[in-house]
Amino acid sequence: MIAYLIRRILYSLPILVGVNLLTFALFFVVNTPDDMARMQLGIKRVTPDAIAQWKQQHGYDKPLLLNSAASGTGKITGTIFWQKSASMFVLDFGYSDDGRNIGREIATRMWPSLSIALPTFLVGLVVYITFALLMTLFRATALDIAGVALCVLLMSVSGLFYIIGGQFVVSKLWHLVPISGYTGGLDSFKFVVLPIAIGVIGSVGSSSRWYRTIFLEEIGKDYVRTARAKGLSELAVLFRHVLKNAMIPILTGVVVVIPLLFMGSLLTESFFGIPGLGSYTIDAINAQDFSVVRAMVFLGSLLYIAGLILTDISYTIADPRVRLS
């Protein structure tokens, strides 16, 4: 198991290198640092001096891949690639355009993100699975058809509508919770409850339908017939036997997103003014702060790969037949 994990982690290194090279190519080769400087300083009436100064301030005044002016290891380390891209492997994300340490920003901003994303994830899991099991229980009846129709309808509504509509009804009409904002600690409950509810409702359609398909595939199998033949009630069959056996496909889709919860949600956080990583990313995109976007791309793929490894581990817990070797 340990050996397997070490190998898995080593396997994922080339993927991270690929992500790193891709972002490097995207941010520095497609457009030169000169273009970026001109963009930041305003397109027209930019003097070469101003560009040189901007590049020097932000550390972009070095060659891209090979610094022939330097000597020794400086040939490699004195380049944009080494300082801006390769350094991300040791989680050194550098500084944003307004001079803040991106690594420290991430460390403080991931907690508000998590305080929304984790409850959304957990509540969502329970709601979707229960709803899907109920549809499976009443399969091929009018209730099931109505449930699926509801799912398709809910899936067809834009995610923006849930947020805007929810804010309008709950905060503006009923005055139940503030429209947006955030404080630390337990007081933040009134700020996070609406984003969580909207997050859960927002994907109830697609998720429940997906779970329903999984359960319907399981319900035709022999062990289900055996369980019924034993005289178990349909509810017991569903919740005790089908749910357990459907664990592998469920885990495949679910565990991989757990690490990504740290990243938060772009839309929810920016609409509700949550100072998390999602709104950090949106602000960076709007301010065209490329170093932050680059850092978030790398962090996102790092967490995704962590999620894939976690998925493998979760299989061994859910199904003793699976052995990692």
Binding site: L26, M39, I43, V152, S156, V157, S158, L160, I285
Partner: protein, 455 residues
């Protein structure tokens, strides 16, 4: 008045798609075994009704794709000068909607502006009141006649629509029945749609049916124009997804070895980056390139258009990985089948095995995944435009409409119509696409066992 046809990049791609679609349809028509699943789709009432709705949207989108530039009256040394504004045939058809702009917000069917302003009346007194609209209800002498007038026009339009609908239904009923299409649901849908269109068209001649936005543009016009953007995002993206996924997926599955390793590596890298972030990064960089080269574009429409095509390209690059993985898996399974081994034993070339024996057997996966992806892409456009990495702000789309209307929510009393219109049109489009996609999946998925024969 002379004009110059303009083919924007996205128009060319739409025509390409259209040609490919017609070619595919013609190919399928010749072959009975390929027609069979489509017959199953045609028997489903939801599928046919949603297809009817979708084809109306496509019609608007296609009319909006035929672009041209009008010649200006003044000549420059005998050379005709064309207006920098790029119009479409659809714009021409609904000229009143496009041209009759008010000063600012007005509610649906309103005859006055939404906010009070200082007006100087005939005797020179200044008073604060709601000023009358320039076009909306301008034929009325008294504001109080609005309700009865709107009701009368609406009813007249509904009746005209109903009559036209009845004519269409009577004319096409026999034709539907001949093909085994669900006659009743289709007839009801045609009647409802024609009544809706009739009412709207009749009201639109005198009022702004869905109100006007901040700069006084008709919201109905904006919503109809957004359809093209949504459709293009949903369809042109497949031009990128399809070749990449099909070629690489089948190659990886069939050749295995290092080819498989490389292709798997590429799609793992791409799919490990959260897609919104990858799209954001790519769009930001593209924006820099576009801003650095203003000389590439002769009109602002062509600049916005390039950004739209780029967005499709980027969406395609981020979304081919899922289909590629599916195709690789299916090919891995197929290549071990006896008939492929028989073909290999007979000395059939690998190229021929791929095109003749493997490709036709994975096409159902391709088709299902393409129709299922469409609605997701339309919804994604709105979200991306909100994040600031969607279409050009000057391009009319559901995303830009929502984005502009979002800030109006805080106004008191609230400006709700632009948001409602954008969400409503989007819901109808996406719902129809989802229902149609479900029917296609049910008809083509071989895992769903069917014993009943459809002939």
């Amino acid at each position: 008045m002379s004009f110059m046809p303009v083919i924007l990049l996205s128009d060319a791609l739409v025509f390409l798609l259209l040609a490919a679609g017609i070619a595919c349809a013609w190919y399928v028509r010749q072959r009975e075994h390929l027609l069979l699943p489509w017959r199953r789709v045609a028997q489903s009432a939801t599928a046919m009704v949603s297809l009817l709705v979708l084809s109306l949207f496509v019609l608007v989108g296609l009319l909006d794709t035929l672009h041209y530039r009008v010649a200006l009256p003044e000549k420059n040394n005998g050379e005709t000068v064309y207006s920098p504004e790029v119009l479409s045939v659809f714009d021409k058809l609904v000229t009143p909607l496009r041209a009759q702009t008010e000063k600012t917000y007005s509610a649906p069917l309103a005859v006055t502006l939404y906010a009070k302003e200082s007006i100087i009346d005939a005797s020179g007194n200044v008073l604060r009141d709601y000023p009358r609209l320039r076009y909306g209800g301008s034929h009325l002498t008294d504001v109080r006649q609005r309700d009865s007038d709107a009701l009368r026009r609406g009813l007249a339009g509904a009746l005209t629509g109903l009559m036209l609908g009845v004519l269409i239904v009577l004319g096409s009923k026999h034709w539907f029945a001949q093909r085994g299409w669900p006659v009743r649901p289709l007839s009801i849908a045609i009647l409802i749609i024609s009544v809706l269109i009739g009412t709207t068209a009749s009201l639109a001649t005198a009022y702004h049916v869905l109100g006007t936005d901040k700069v006084g543009q008709d919201v109905l016009y904006l919503s109809l124009k957004s359809i093209r953007t949504g459709l293009i995002i949903g369809t042109v993206t497949t031009l990128v997804t399809l070749p990449l996924a099909l070629l690489l997926g089948i190659a990886a599955g069939y050749m295995r070895g290092w080819v498989d390793d490389v292709i798997q590596y590429v799609y793992t890298v791409l799919s490990s980056i959260p897609s919104v972030l990858l799209i954001a990064a790519a769009v930001l960089m593209m924006q820099v390139t576009i801003d650095m080269h203003p000389q590439w574009f002769d009109t602002s429409a062509s600049r916005a258009d390039l950004r739209l095509v780029f967005l499709c390209l980027i969406l395609g690059v981020t979304s081919w990985t899922g289909l590629c993985r599916l195709l690789r898996g299916e090919t891995l399974k197929l290549r071990e089948m006896e008939y492929i081994q028989a073909a290999q034993a007979f000395g059939v070339s690998p190229m021929r095995i791929l095109t003749r024996h493997i490709m036709p057997n994975v096409m159902h996966i391709v088709l299902i995944s393409l129709v299922m992806d469409f609605s997701g892409l339309v919804l994604a456009e709105a979200v991306l435009s909100y994040v600031g990495v969607g279409v050009d702000p000057s391009m009319i789309s559901f995303g830009t409409m929502i984005n502009a209307a979002r800030l109006e929510m805080g106004r008191e009393p609230m400006v709700w119509w632009a948001l409602t219109a954008a969400f409503g049109f989007m819901l109808v489009l996406v719902l129809a696409a989802n229902l149609f996609a479900d029917a296609v999946r049910d008809a083509f998925d071989p895992r769903l066992n069917r014993t009943e024969s459809v002939m």
